[in-house]
Symmetry: C2
Subunit: 196 residues, 2 copies
Amino acid sequence: MTNTNMSALKGATAPIHFGSFLVTPQVFHTTTLSYALVNLKPILPGHVLVSPRRVVPRVADLTPAETSDLFLTVRRVGRMVERVYGASSLNIAVQDGVDAGQSVPHVHAHIIPRKAADLDHRGGTDAVYDMLDGEEGDVGKAFKKAEGGKRADAETPKKKAKFPVVDNEARKPRTMEEMGAEAEMLAREMEKEPVD
Amino acid sequence: MTNTNMSALKGATAPIHFGSFLVTPQVFHTTTLSYALVNLKPILPGHVLVSPRRVVPRVADLTPAETSDLFLTVRRVGRMVERVYGASSLNIAVQDGVDAGQSVPHVHAHIIPRKAADLDHRGGTDAVYDMLDGEEGDVGKAFKKAEGGKRADAETPKKKAKFPVVDNEARKPRTMEEMGAEAEMLAREMEKEPVD
């Protein structure tokens, strides 16, 4: 939980990877088989990811125990972010494979807290999906950029922007400090969340 | 499995409800706590739904056992439809609550088989979400219409169509016979699917 061990979690934590990216400072919750992390570029406040600890690309690659643990973690973390961010609903989405829009070849469930009319200025409730699949939801690209490379631009095919209101490129990814602070806050909130 | 008992499943099956709708003939797979059904208006071939047997609106309302069973069923059914419909990826999405776009107040996971470039004519990979949240993915409205009422039009707020290529209102919901045939085919395919 200190900056020294670069983790929002209490006690020692082994390095945690999201695909090829080291994300330990962004992780706010772990179970035996899963973990939850904050996003570089949340598309709405409280947009977090839940992944299996084992780096595999597809849901079908998970064992039954990993599958259960992953979605029990989604359920518990979802309840927490809905409470903490004052939301009333959640979008839960898994892009399971490249042709479904997956950008990092490591199973991850998006959890996005929703409120009434929260995306009216972007086109309505369903705008969340354009954002999820557009540049601002491209977690792979965001992580590559955070690592300082420009290769992300070359590797990620250009997608058509459907909602011209926001210039995604102008939105800066959050700093490690910002993400670390949110991860610490969410780690504390997870402790308040009933286990069942 | 006959039209007499109105079920694609072998043996006697108690009536199964999706929200307030009786969907027994569309159900192709059941477990102790979950079931899978074909859609009235699939947005892509093989688009199916998985629900808990208990009618509750939110994922947080599920018990841990129901949550595990639901997503183990999603994983197994997903593997099956990906194989049967010759797909390479899956979109898995739960609209968990009204403000996330949920149209029937009964937890349901959408499973949508995806192939490379399958939605290029609709705007690209992410067009699936517009379709999911637009009129053609509105399962509540589709079921209400299937029940013969016009009240669906009055109850469902008009949504802006983003992809004008397809006139959704012109697309007819499938008949009970079509859905029953698909459900029987998928019930047989589920038997080939390994349990783990």
